[in-house]
Symmetry: C2
Subunit: 343 residues, 2 copies
């Protein structure tokens, strides 16, 4: 196995100006990268011989958490610890850091306890998520679910962020198809903002804003249990959401039948994006509810998938304002995506 | 002069889930780019012969707003309209859009009225901002100030965001040294969050959080009227803030003496960053107060400069949570920046 990285414990800090949690994690600086120059062309180190995520190379990875099928050398999905984790899975025995800092007057400081895992989506280096069958995509989704349920048993973990980076300009440092999961000791700022906004809509209209998501002109595809739409105020060109038709607050309530249905729609969506936008780098994120959400919160909170192709970067305007500039109207993006022919 | 771009009027939309304003601006899709492949190497079109921002090429630019020195063919700084503006500087005569949309039930819609200008920082193609003398940097800062004061006379404009993109991966599509300014009809979300946070600190401590910014271990440099620090919860590695020592709410209160002092510190900071971090792409943003801020708001709001070198991209975790992972502790970054020798 690769050797663990020794360094200062991670910390979470928030200052009194931006009011945003930041994770300080020196271990992250030591990550290797398949992408030497952040250029879209795969680098020479990108080969199954040297990739730790490939089948047969398990000993080059940080410890495994579980695999599907269990105990099978011929695995389809593996969930492993991240070798360069943003947070530390060991509880801090000496909690003095959180008391001794003079800067505390000016912000907040939390010990960086939490979990950071990697989900290897396929045993084979060159296979992308969209190459899998709907049933195999469902296995990946089930791996997220199983791991979220494990994390939920730890009272210190408040929120789990599942995300995928595909392609160098979407942040990926590894090319072998994978996604990640971070179990956080705080509810992150975008989640709080989203829930506050959905709550306000619910209080004003009596309806869940996602059950009520606009589909006129914005619908792209439908499956039995899900729809895909371009959101009304998409931050990014060709951003897409996949939304469960039923009001469900937590992603981890997904059952087998719905997982296969979602797997199919996710596959179709990624294929369409790849065809129409010339294989763009992309991210996806699962937006779910906090683990310990109260019953009253569940009334207005509804999980969904957000998929963001990377077509242009952002600049100082977005960094400064938190406001995005999107050159493509959502109804135009939806029309283009509806018309892609994948047969 | 280059011909203006015809297209659908820009719109600002906010949905009921993310609660974030997004500017939809089809004109932006038509921008040319010096950087064909978003690679750090300058492209072949990047030459003074074809650059509209170079002296002698003024007729290839959108209309000029003013120049320093005024009416002088031998200008040092020009402020011009952005040829591909995110917002429209013409008032909408037919305001029916904001009433007719059915989606309004689900979000907010505003006509995209506002201003988007470019500040050309030097007449010469190869001269960077950090190559200028402190007095010439002060001229650029004064150009921001003069234009902000012009925009402030329009009651519809609530906030002005000044920003600079340097280098392709920081978003720049043009290499000739320039910055931009957007006059917005709304107060953007990050500004609201920042002001709420500073207000809370003020209510709890009776102090302005920026007057009180922590300097122990975090100070980098000092000038007569300003200090530079790494913020306590820096979102990005080697992020720096330049903060006025006196409590001043609006950037546009800057006087001549302070502008030269700030020009000198900004120059030193950019040179240090360039030396220490190997000429990184970067953004800077001026964080100021809303134009129509009330007297009680001015008590806790204090403008500052934020400078962000681009050393690594962001991925799905940051997009999903709004929470950043920074591998470099602020006190370590400050130490490194303090020790750069620029003599
Ligand atoms: N042998 C091994 N065993 C186990 N794990 C291994 C391993 N070798 C590498 N890893 C881990 O595998 C992960 C691969 O993740 P990605 O390629 O999706 O992006 P990464 O997390 O590097 O950063 C991107 O995503 C994060 C989060 O969004 C951003 O902060 C960052 O800027 C962006 O580049 C890395 O986190 C790495 O630590
Ligand atoms: N002849 C001419 N006359 C007048 N103006 C001209 C012109 N030719 C080009 N321009 C304008 O000059 C500006 C140059 O700006 P930058 O290089 O800083 O980045 P840009 O705005 O393209 O996008 C970056 O910044 C924005 C805002 O942060 C992000 O939305 C985007 O993703 C990122 O790439 C462009 O806005 C362009 O429209």
């Amino acid at each position: 196995m690769a050797s663990p990285v020794e360094s200062r414990r991670p910390e979470l800090r928030k200052d009194s100006v931006t009011n945003r949690w930041v994770i300080f994690s020196p271990a992250r600086a030591k990550r290797p990268s398949d992408f030497k120059s952040k250029s879209p062309a795969p680098s020479s180190t990108d080969s199954p011989q040297t990739c730790p995520f490939c089948i047969g190379q398990e000993h080059h990875c940080a410890p495994e958490i579980f695999r599907f099928p269990p105990q099978n050398p011929d695995w389809k999905v593996r969930v492993i610890q991240n070798l360069y984790p943003a947070l530390s899975r060991d509880k801090d025995l000496d909690s003095s850091t959180s008391l001794s800092s003079g800067s505390l007057l000016w912000g907040c400081l939390l010990d960086g306890y939490g979990f950071h895992d990697v989900i290897i989506e396929s045993p084979v280096h060159s296979v992308h998520l969209s190459d899998l069958t709907p049933e195999d995509v469902a296995q990946v989704l089930f791996a997220y679910k199983k791991r979220i349920l494990q994390l939920a048993s730890d009272d210190s973990i408040k929120y789990v962020q599942v995300f995928k980076n595909h392609g160098a300009s979407a942040g990926a440092s590894m090319t072998h198809s994978h996604s990640q999961m971070v179990g956080l000791p705080v509810i992150p700022p975008s989640v709080t903002t989203r829930l506050d906004s959905m709550k306000q809509y619910f209080n004003e209209t009596g309806k869940c804003s996602i059950c009520h998501v606009p589909t006129k002109d914005l619908l792209v595809d439908e499956s039995v249990h899900f729809i895909s739409v371009v959101p009304y105020a998409a931050s990014f060109p060709f951003e897409l959401w996949i939304v469960p038709r039923d009001h469900v607050s937590h992603f981890h309530e997904l059952d087998q039948e719905k997982a296969v249905d979602l797997g199919g729609l996710l596959k179709v969506t990624l294929i369409k994006m790849s065809l129409q936008l010339n294989k763009p780098p992309f991210n996806f994120m699962i937006h779910t509810s906090p683990l310990q959400a109260s019953d009253s919160d569940l009334a207005y909170s509804h999980w969904f998938f957000q998929i963001v192709p990377h077509l242009s970067g952002v600049g100082g305007f977005e960094l400064g304002t938190g406001c995005y500039i999107n050159p493509v109207f959502p109804e135009d993006a939806a029309k283009v995506m509806r018309e892609v022919n994948i047969s």
